[in-house]
């Protein structure tokens, strides 16, 4: 392994706290792209440079550069968003982006298709409603997730508030964002900026954190670098089990890279959250691998040095004594759909949004419907970790109003979709994502049509199985912890992973490599049949496949790529 710092480290170090030459790049009228180095820095500002890959080869022949546009990700800590913020995002998406809103697997908003000349205005307008895009991407702590189910509202509110505090605490201190996008006061060359937590070169790699309240593991806490599992005792929040070292990304063909589920480090009190979190972050800052981006996530730091070493670092840096973890149990990592009433008597409706894409499609006028609901809503929206949307905190009267509007705009298909579809997720992939090797969002719905039919044939029409697809192995839709995981390898070809836990508590195992649609359907159909007849009471599909030896049980990220016979 090379000991030279990775190129991104050079760019960060020279960036004057994330400024680079972004201003010059925005001004250059000859290209719709940013300068190469700036494409790395823009991520810290929530902006990914992309191009329409459907057009790429055609435009090369036309002697035109790729159709560059930008994806803008707006942070929404805990996914909680006011109706005014929703309306603002809708307005910005309609006028500057491709007319749709994408809800992400990290409870953030994504807008796609914003061209460079509109970028600054778009960012400014997003900021009108106190939503920002800083640190939505990049080698920093990203959008902090929090759960969205409500049987114990007062605990959830506490947890959501903690998520917001952590988000604020770990937000980069650089003034570059305000300076570049919001015409904030220009500091001398960025030298005056100080990053008390991150330092001048930020983290070695992206960093993800989440809070969760059992029994629903909707945030997939084990997929996070840093997690806080709320421990509720006597209906009150006692504290959190701290988890560290989760992460999905890997590279095909490189077995030194692997998805990994987090370890439970210990228990801390609510007051200690920020100190523990900061200690985790600074340990990773100081010990994470800055020479190899594919080995830079916290999960590798922990696997290389050991959990005990890591715990010692955290305890020493935070001054917090971590207690033994407390017991908890998760029942699933999906969303709970439909109406729920919380302990304070308020109503919440979780609406299924296929793959998080808010758009009007034919009779189903999702974009328009949600806009109209936002206009009259006395409550709030919550973006769920499964790319769905909760319409939350409603009175009895509001519930009736919203119910009517869901019908009016034809957007309540929560009751029409099969359990498989309701437990599905896909990343964006083609045409905009530069990493995609295969289709995902545009393809999964039709694959589910076929799998629905196969499940119905097997007598499983009413059963929930989690299925997630990504167009590349980086794992934005967390496919390695879906009972059916599909990871793109090439056009129309996917690796099929099976045997993951329904609650996101166990990684899947490679079952078919490079499979096309026919091979995927042919592989799954007999498994549906044997599951249908051979399962134990309440046994989930993934558990069944492991118990019956169809796939081996993957017990640690390090053994993810192990040969079939290994444990």
């Amino acid at each position: 392994m090379s000991t030279a710092l990775s190129d991104v480290e050079r760019i960060k170090a020279a960036s004057r706290h994330l400024r680079g030459t972004l201003v010059e790049s925005l001004r250059n009228p000859i290209t719709g792209a940013l300068a190469d180095d700036d494409t790395q820095l823009s991520k810290f500002h929530g902006i990914y440079q992309q191009d329409d890959r459907d057009l790429r080869s055609e435009r090369t022949r036309q002697k035109l550069e790729p159709a560059y546009s930008f994806m803008i990700r707006a942070r929404v800590p805990g996914g909680i968003c006011t109706p005014a913020q929703w309306l603002n995002m809708d307005d910005v998406a309609t006028r500057h982006a491709n007319g749709t809103i994408r809800l992400t697997t990290r409870q953030a908003f994504q807008l796609h298709g914003v061209v460079k000349t509109r970028l600054k205005q778009t960012i400014q307008e997003i900021n009108r409603q106190m939503t920002d895009t800083l640190a939505a991407c990049g080698d920093v702590n990203r959008n902090v997730m929090a759960p969205t189910h409500y049987d114990l509202s007062h605990v959830h509110r506490q947890v959501a508030e903690e998520a917001r505090r952590l988000s604020a605490h770990l937000t980069p201190a650089t003034s570059a964002y305000h300076e570049i996008w919001l015409d904030g006061e220009k500091l001398d060359d960025g030298e005056a900026d100080v990053e008390p937590i991150y330092g001048d070169t930020y983290l070695p790699r992206k960093f993800k954190s989440a809070f969760v309240v059992p029994p629903q593991n909707d945030v997939d806490v084990f997929a996070q670098d840093l997690g806080f599992i709320a421990i509720v005792e006597d209906n009150e929040l006692a504290g959190y089990n701290v988890t560290v070292g989760g992460g999905m990304g890997m590279s095909h063909g490189e077995t030194a890279t692997y998805p990994r589920l987090a370890d439970v480090l210990g228990f801390c009190r609510p007051d200690d959250v920020l100190r523990v979190a900061e200690a985790v972050v600074t340990t990773q800052r100081d010990f994470g691998d800055r020479t190899n981006r594919k080995h830079a996530r916290l999960k590798y730091t922990i696997d290389d040095r050991g959990v005990d070493w890591f715990r010692d670092q955290v305890v020493e840096r935070s001054g917090v004594t971590l207690e033994a973890p407390r017991s908890f149990a998760f029942v699933g990592n999906g969303d709970v759909y439909g109406w729920q009433r919380d302990d304070a008597g308020r109503w919440h409706y979780t609406l299924f949004i296929q793959n998080g894409r808010v758009a009007d499609t034919g009779e189903r006028r999702l974009m328009t419907g949600l806009r109209e609901i936002a206009k009259v809503l006395h409550g709030e929206f919550r973006l769920t970790p499964n790319q769905n949307l909760s319409i939350s905190n409603l009175s009895d009267d509001s519930k009736a109003l919203v119910d009517g509007m869901l019908g009016e705009f034809g957007i309540d298909n929560t009751s029409q979709a099969t359990p498989l579809r309701l437990h599905s997720m896909a990343c964006v992939a083609f045409p905009t994502c530069g990493l995609a090797m295969a289709e995902s969002e545009r393809y999964l719905p039709s694959l589910i049509d076929r799998l629905d039919a196969a499940m119905a044939d097997a007598g499983l029409a009413g059963d929930a199985i989690t299925i997630r697809m990504t167009g590349c192995p980086n794992g934005c839709a967390r496919p390695y912890i879906a009972e059916i995981g599909l990871v793109g390898k090439g056009p129309g070809r996917y690796n099929l992973y099976l045997g993951a836990g329904f609650a996101g508590q166990r990684l899947g195992c490679l079952y078919r490599e490079n499979a096309n649609e026919e091979e995927i359907v042919a592989a799954l159909s007999p498994l549906f049949s044997s599951y249908s007849v051979g399962r134990d009471v309440n046994e989930h599909f993934g558990d069944f496949l492991v118990r019956t030896g169809v796939v081996r049980e993957v017990t640690a990220g390090r053994t993810f790529h192990a040969a079939a016979g290994d444990r």
Partner: protein, 597 residues
Amino acid sequence: MSASPESIPAYPLDDEQALRLHDALAGLTPGQLQWVSGYAAGVAAANAGIDAPVAPAGHADSAEALTILYGSQTGNGEQIANQLAAAAGDKGFAVTLKSLADYKPANLKRESMVTFVVSTHGEGDPPDDAELFREFLLSTKAPRLESLNFSVLALGDTSYLNFCQTGREFDARLAELGAKRLLPIVECDVDYEDAANAWAGSLLDALPAVIGAGNAAPKLRAVELPAKHDKNRPFAAEVLTNQKITGGASTKDVRHIELSLEGSGLRYEPGDALAVLVENPPALVAQLIDALGFDGASNVDVRGSSRSLRDALSLDLEITSTNLGFLQAWGAISGDERLQALLDDRQELRRLIDTWQVIDVVREFPADTDAQTFVNALRKLTPRSYSIASSLAANPDEVHLTVAAVRYEAFGSEHWGAASTHLADRLEAGDSVKVYVEPNTRFRLPANDATDVIMVGPGTGVAPFRAFVEERAERGAAGRNWLIFGDRNFSSDFLYQLEWQRHLKEGRLDRLDVAFSRDQARKVYVQDRIRESAHELFEWLDNGAHLYVCGDAQHMAGDVDAALIDVISSQRNVGRDSAEAQLKELRRAGRYQRDVY
């Protein structure tokens, strides 16, 4: 001169060569021998890489000489003037041949015979090189010219109003100043050859009455090596590439077309045009025949040769535009009073000529006539010229064009431009198209490679600048290159974007400014970029830069001119008149060249 073998010196020819020459010359008439001697001089000059004298120098006293002055935008006028000079020289007249740009107007009063070959552009504009002369002639400064004889050959295009305006102005004004009109003005449409040849013949016949045909025998002159391919002998070039270069969302379909010149011997310089012999859209030909109720297979006579009506309409006759001549003829044929009324209404006539095709006219004003009468009313189909978009040095044996396909909906049916759709829609790689090179000596890179160039080329006007930049790179020219490009939308209409980016990156292009008119609420054009960059642009000019403009003549060229005048006026801090004069001076000095159409 005698043709006897003894007169052939033994040296420098060897015996074998001397005998072969003797055989070759045997039996030639004196005239033929003179021609051969000129031919040999021409071959020698061409082989030595020096210019063969095309016409005798005007060393004769101007009072005894024929002075031929031309004003030409496309080079046609210059070509006619050249041919006339050669023919007059052959007849023994002393000839002075000059571009109007190089002629001192005050000299007119010392001349006894001047003939003008002058074209008209757009809606009645003089060619660039005639502008200053015209200004002088029409002004009160013009002297009385009682001792002057003159004749005018006017070139124009009847699809524009103010047909042959500049020629008409010259003709009328010279007469007004007391000069004697040797021949009535002859006005040529785009198919000018026949009329121009007839005019030259009449002129040569009339000349002895006003100037002496030199008392010596006709002078010997070198004969130019005939161009291998010209209008009458076009080269069938193979299409190598026909690639749309506007993006999917574009409102335009612009093609990059690459043709092979392999085996043609054709050469061209950056700035030259390629003439393309086109065929009319087959669908339009069929519709037209159908609309008139004719039989496409029936034979018609087209200027002396017989062919099917379908072929005549496809290959010989202009049907994708109208012109005054056709409208007048059709007015007579149809006897339609509405059409007659239109012919008297300048505004309406202009609109009609601009927007109607022949088929629209015959549909709107039906007539009961026969195919031959219809054919006689039509103008000859002329080759279409495109500014060449490639440098031959950078692309040996190839020529590239940038062609905007003209298609539009009008009168409830689809309309097509003849040449552009011939190239864009009906040719693919492997097909061939007939072409020849049209030199444009009025649009040339600076001879000095150290000179900077500023190129203003919106839309397909960027074509010659692709050739310029390629050529300067090939030459390793030290001068800086600045391109100002404009079009509708950045994402779909940035013609040759990847190439410009590469040129910029590799230092072959020093500066690129772009104006995309429809990307924002306020429309911006190349002239706005010129004004925004006034200071630097003026610095470049002050430093000796040459300035080039290519593209639309109707609006852009004038808008750019106005912007340049603003730049000079603001940067020099002088009034508008002075700035205009300075811009004209740049033009006269050949530092501001335009290829506008």
